[in-house]
Amino acid sequence: MFKWFGRINYAPFTKVDGFAQHLKDGRLMATRCSQCGATSFPPRADCSVCLSGDFEFTELSGRARLHTFTKIVAAPTGFEDVAPYTVGVVDLEEGGRAVAWFGDSIQEGEIEIGMELQVVPQIFEELEEIKVYYSLERPGTEWVKV
């Protein structure tokens, strides 16, 4: 259920709802248009190339390169207790970009534009409700796919 995605979720209902279940199962998915094959990350249900509404999810490797980043000190509502935190925008190997937090395997001092990273699906382990996200980790990081 897409409402699982993100620490705060402002888009509980979407045509690409299945993205969150795949993420919970350890799979980072892009979408591919069933008509013309155009792929998209972030995922989108409606093809911007041929206007078709038929799509399927396609799994990404999660390999990426850091495009830019910032450490957020002044946090928005809902993130005050985890501030400061560092977010990065990464260019994904298969195309498209993602924005995500840096995970525990990366030290603040090593963050450099251009560095290789691995986008890793995650569950917020200690929250009672089910919430999922992905983080930026060291290349070669392994994780479980259900």
Partner: protein, 384 residues
């Protein structure tokens, strides 16, 4: 086709106005503009209101504002494109006059930023990008521009010092602007010691929320010449958009919407960047002004940092920019900024800018950006 001129301008002090509603603020700017134009209120055919509704308790702002201004039953509506709402309102009025539907249109950019509680405002701050894919990670408006800054520094060697040069310049000019929120100069040292917001930005890299309103009254050429002895012409009008999400931009070192809007405006006006005598650009964050110099063609791509460090954007430099204090020192009541920028350029082209006057300014430019560059409006204004 008829040219459109600006015949009256008005501007409230920008700041914390807990003493007034948004319509009361709008009235202050409107009254000043009507008196400045020397027209009867009844001569106004329509009004367009530029404001961002989600910061207000009052729903449907356009109706409330225009009624208080005494403009009912003339047509009115709201234009909203985030921080460029004021310019969108001007463009709407301009289009209606060029199409011959109206002749005299009042454009009021107005905004309260302080009606919501701090948590409500902070929550809104986290919903600036594409909420579906980004807000879950706690991104904020400063964070997006901060990431542009980091990339710009990486690609072009822009320095922290150069970012702060923008802040120092704009506070210098804000001190000369009686309508500005911040009226004191700052030093680079003070700016560098301020709190972190989103690295590399500190407090002085970021514009402040404010309440305020600014009004411009537009008229078709014949009426403009009849009513005013110093009409200022909207000679070039450009508007372009870009993806809502930074994840789908071609690069994160400039705003393609600004480049495209500027190209349109210069072409329409038959001008080039080098012709511009004075400009007001959208310095919501220090890097935004540096990127604006490049996107507008005031300097080559990547050289915006040295451009400001060399004082090329002070009066006396290649092109004075934000000599009213910019968003940084004036404050940023988001719906009012577009009309505020236009107000300043009109003053400059009329020769009425006092201590801030750019000598013999004949061509001016405004650059008003919505959000992280989703929308951009560029206007080239001329004295002749």
């Amino acid at each position: 086709m008829t040219r459109v001129g600006i015949v009256g301008i008005g501007h409230t002090a920008f700041g914390r106005r807990s003493d007034a509603t948004v319509q009361e603020l709008a009235f202050e700017a409107f009254r000043e503009a009507v008196l400045d134009a020397g027209i009867e209120r009844d001569a106004i055919d329509a009004s367009v209101i530029g404001a961002v509704p989600e910061y207000h308790k009052q729903r449907s702002l356009a109706g409330v504002v225009q009624e208080y201004l005494g403009l009912a039953p003339k047509p009115t509506w709201l234009t909203e494109v985030a921080c460029a709402s004021g310019s969108a309102a001007i463009r709407t009025a301009w289009m209606s006059i060029k199409a011959g539907v109206h002749d005299v249109v009042a454009v009021i950019g107005c905004q309260k930023m302080t009606e919501l509680s701090t948590p409500e405002i902070l929550a809104l701050m986290g919903r600036v990008g594409e909420v579906q894919w980004e807000s879950g990670f706690g991104t904020t408006f400063p964070a997006y521009y901060a990431m542009f800054a980091k990339r710009h520094m990486h690609e072009f060697g822009t320095t922290r010092e150069q970012l702060l040069d923008v802040a120092v310049k704009n506070h210098h000019y804000g001190a000369l602007n009686p309508k500005a929120l911040f009226r004191k100069e700052i030093t680079k040292k003070k700016a560098a010691a301020s709190e972190d917001v989103a690295t590399p930005f500190q407090v002085y890299d970021c514009c402040a929320n404010a309440d305020g309103a600014a009004c411009v009254i537009l008229a078709g050429e014949e009426t403009a010449r009849a009513v005013s002895d110093k009409p200022v012409w909207l000679s070039g009008m450009g508007c372009a958009t870009a993806s809502m999400s930074v994840l789908r931009r071609p690069n994160l070192v400039g705003l393609p919407s600004a480049e495209q809007a500027a190209a349109q405006a210069f072409e329409m006006a038959g001008m080039e960047p080098a012709n511009v005598d004075v400009a007001d650009v959208h310095d919501c964050f220090t890097i935004a002004e540096i990127m604006a110099y490049e996107d507008l063609g005031f300097c080559p791509k990547g050289e915006g940092g040295p451009f400001v460090a060399d004082r090329q954007t002070y009066i006396g430099g290649a092109v004075p920019v934000n000599v009213d204090g910019g968003l940084k020192a004036k404050g940023h009541p988001i719906g009012a900024t577009g009309t505020s920028m236009t107000h300043e350029i009109v003053l400059q082209l009329r020769g009425e800018a006092g201590e801030r006057q750019v000598p013999d300014a004949a061509v001016g430019l405004t650059h008003n950006v919505g959000g992280i560059g989703q929308y951009c409006f560029v206007q080239v204004l001329t004295r002749e």
